[in-house]
Amino acid sequence: MPLASPDPRAAWLMRLGDASLILGHRMTQWLSRAPTLEEDIALANLGLDLIGQTRALYARACEIEGGGRDENALAYRRAEPEYRNPLLVEQPNGDFAVTMVRHLIFAAYATPLYERLSSSNDAETAGIATRSAREMAYHLRHAAEWTIRLGDGTPESHARAQTALDDLWPYVPELFEADDLDRDVAASGFGVDPSTLRGDFDAAVAGVLARATLAKPAEVRGQRGGKAGRHSEHLGHILAELQVLQRAYPDAQW
């Protein structure tokens, strides 16, 4: 599978951007459907944070690439195999417990990722990471507080939260598996090797699961492929919705 960009640094930033775009889109699918008005606004805020991070990451990737593509081209003109997000973020929203547990897993991975990336040797990338780390720390807090209340809530909310955790846990290993691209950008001081983040993730999640009275699922080999462009059937549906306007009316402007 060729890189998503000829420049490895751009390809790596695009991969981060793909993850936040797809998860951000998933969050926007909750709009007007959240359990309460307060949570509807909260989920929209989380989605907007992620889409804002995507724009910054894509824009920097395009600058580094220097090939004339812009962030809209990346978001709206690429097909599934060109997207390199981990499989976790394209999984369906399910019930509220699924969405919150998915967000807990992602935020517990992305918070230390952006904290480390804030010392990237690329000042622009470091700046994006500093802002993103702050946002993801709040995402982690929000998802953690909900996971605790669902897990330590009623028998039904506990059962749903445990099911969500068990169903999503197979998507955890992919987040932390370093491939050649990860190792390449980490070695040059530009990026972060995700395998170095697992300790922070485990510590953050263990504390939440203990308070939530949820059992940590057994470690499994897991599902992987998204980072290499091999996706679940869900991504095609997401892109169909996300890209329909630009596909039907290329270069349409507001």
Binding site: P35, L37, E38, E39, A42, R141, R149
Partner: protein, 95 residues
Amino acid sequence: MTEAATPLWEVFVRPRNGLAHRHVGSLHAHDAQMALQAARDVYTRRGETQSIWIVPSTAIVASDPSEKDMMFEPTATKIYRHPTFYEVPDEVGHM
């Protein structure tokens, strides 16, 4: 979700250092921590906020609107309580 599970909370926001917290509205949440997060998401989206206070709405003791006349009307005729009978010397400037 039932009302009992998500009681009402009053939200006070302090926009800048030096200003007092102001009541900005209310919201439903399960507990104080969730109310604080909801307040952050609902009421501080568009600007700088220094601090949020959350108070259970049941902790607010309010005057009875039907007693408005008894409570507040008598002060309307006591104009001598307004500090408008003093000549402020020009040298004092704005007070």
